[in-house]
């Protein structure tokens, strides 16, 4: 056989190599086991919740008004969407504006930049319970907003600010300088260049950050209990209290008699997460494709 490929490593070769190196074989087993454990844990959680929750997704769970009989999740779902909208309405302009300032306007050696970066990193590391405490002390008590959508929204907006800022900053940095030079070369000003050229091309990266933030807002509990409160109906205005889906689930799980409904609520939450992850991986794939 003249044209036989000779550099394929056969199974036998591999086996004999591991026989000479038992430690390597052990390490190989270990990493595969760890991977299997990670996958198993996730699948177990997801399927456990689905199996126990899906049968309890009854129409009553989606009735427009919450009662202690139907423990409807619909008001909580609507509140969650309102909360997402409100938090993003506050955080997105600030996050994007800050990133634009850092990338497009500020000089690289600026000391101010270092402070912005340091504080953003700090914000990213603060646990949600601390945000909850702060929101309670500042928005609820000091500003007298009481337990309200607004107080919760502002608290969460600060919490997701670093996520939006960082992803926008990365996306802006990834925009080739040639775009900017081309625009400047045509006589466009800096502002026009930013809004017409740089931001549109950074859009996928920015939306990835926003999607991540949506995930955090939907899943948040500790930062909301003492800022947005736990009222189980759709808030009439932004100064009214309302419970998001996660808080709803926390309260159901704590009651002990609503376990089935808690499972069903968990399914809805997981559904949110799945959709969010799907969108974000879709966007990421779009970004990586653009780079090729």
């Amino acid at each position: 056989m003249k044209h036989e490929t000779i550099n394929r490593i056969s199974f036998r070769q591999r086996l004999s190599s591991y026989r000479n190196n038992p430690l390597s074989f052990l390490l190989l087993l270990l990493v595969w086991c760890a991977m299997a454990a990670t996958v198993f844990i996730l699948l177990f959680i997801v399927f456990y919740i689905l199996v126990n929750g899906v049968p309890h997704l009854t129409p009553g769970l989606f009735s427009p008004v919450y009662t202690t009989d139907n423990v409807s999740a619909l008001p909580a779902i609507i509140t969650t969407l309102l909360m997402v909208g409100l938090s993003l309405a506050i955080a997105v302009p600030f996050g994007i504006g800050c990133a634009i300032f850092l990338v497009e306007y500020a000089k690289k050696t600026n000391r101010f930049i270092r402070y912005v970066r340091l504080t953003t990193e700090t914000l990213a590391g603060i646990p949600s319970i601390i945000y909850g405490l702060f929101g309670m002390l500042f928005f609820v008590i000091a500003l007298k907003w009481n337990l309200s959508l607004l107080a919760g929204g502002f608290t969460l907006a600060i919490m997701v600010l670093p996520t939006i800022m960082r992803s926008t900053e990365e996306a802006l940095k990834a925009t080739p300088d040639a775009y900017r030079e081309g625009s400047f070369g045509l006589g466009a000003g800096r502002l026009r260049t930013v809004f017409r050229i740089v931001l549109p091309s950074a859009m996928p990266g920015i939306s990835a950050g926003i999607i991540l933030s949506v995930g955090r807002i939907v899943g948040e509990t500790a930062a909301l209990i003492y800022t947005a409160g736990t009222v189980a109906k759709v808030p009439e205005n932004i100064f009214a209290s309302g419970r998001t889906l996660s808080i709803h689930m926390y309260l159901l799980a704590g009651e002990g008699i609503y376990t089935d409904q808690a499972y069903a609520t968990a399914v809805i939450l997981l559904g949110f997460v799945l959709v969010i992850n799907f969108i974000s991986s879709f966007i990421t794939r779009k970004i990586t494709k653009g780079q090729d």
Partner: protein, 279 residues
């Protein structure tokens, strides 16, 4: 227009200043009233007694125990999975696995907590004894929850190691496994450390999942199969009805947690700074 962008850039600085101000201004007076030693070193937390005592040492120790447990469980699995993802993963498996790990990161803590109640508590009760609400259960749950953090950052650190190290090891006759574990992995050391620090931060700050499985007894830990209360749990459980000094003490509890997290953040940025310098 530059001024507008400048103002938005001040937002994060302002936020951090406000958070520090409100947490410390509301928390520190309570520590002064109770006494630093009585507060941090006191082993009895009984805010509603006629002679109340506000010692948070049980909660501090509780947080440390639970976090340490999470590290013991989560770090080995997380690091090995990161090694798998970076160096062992067949190409076709990578995307599905990455999706799974991202999903693990996206699950809300409340869902983790509920899973903990429904599955881990009975599992620990039946396998190891006790009533199931324990340090061990909380550690298991937190160990799972910090996996995505550790996997994500360690994988990136492993991928950043120059391939010349790997090739050099192979050229000396090392197997793939030896080259990865004894050359590439040590070279990624500081990044791996950073992932562990971030994992600690996540475990220490976690609230909702922990209160659902840890038992929440405000006493010094007596065994890994016994219940414990963390700093975070203490705040969220009692803030609803606390008043006066009790309330202030809870905020002070938050301040202690905040300082701890700030220290961790500082470690993390020191490590990343060290990495940047070395390159």
């Amino acid at each position: 227009m530059e001024a507008v962008f400048f103002i938005t850039a001040c937002a994060s600085i302002l936020a951090v200043l406000l958070i520090c101000f409100f947490i410390f201004v509301n928390g520190l007076p309570a520590i002064a009233k109770i006494g630093v030693f009585n507060f941090l070193g006191g082993t009895k937390w009984a805010p509603l007694n006629t002679v109340p005592s506000f010692g948070i040492l049980p909660m501090i120790v509780g947080s440390l125990f639970v976090t340490a447990g999470a590290i013991v469980i989560g770090v080995p699995i997380g690091l090995l999975t990161a090694i798998f993802m970076a160096q062992f993963c067949p190409k076709k498996m990578y995307h599905p696995l990455k999706t799974i790990i991202d999903l693990l990161a996206g699950i809300p803590s409340i869902v983790y907590g509920f899973f903990g109640i429904a599955v881990l508590v009975p599992f620990v009760r039946d396998t190891f004894g006790g009533n199931g609400n324990s340090i061990l259960t909380a550690s298991l749950l937190l160990g799972i929850m910090i996996l995505p953090t550790i996997i994500g950052i360690s994988e990136a650190a492993l991928r950043a190691v120059p391939s010349s190290y790997y090739e050099g090891a192979l050229a000396l006759g090392a197997t793939h496994e030896r080259a990865v574990f004894f050359t590439v992995f040590p070279a990624a050391g500081s990044g791996v450390l950073a992932s562990v620090v971030l994992g600690i931060g996540r475990a220490v700050g976690e609230t909702m999942a922990v209160i659902m499985v840890a038992g929440n007894q405000a006493r010094m830990p007596v065994g890994i199969l016994k219940g414990v209360r963390t700093l975070t749990a203490n705040i969220i459980l009692e803030m609803g009805y606390a008043a006066d000094l009790h309330r202030e003490a809870l905020i002070a509890c938050g301040a202690v947690l905040f300082v701890f997290v700030l220290l961790l953040n500082f470690c993390f940025s020191a490590i990343t700074e060290y990495r940047r310098r070395r390159e």
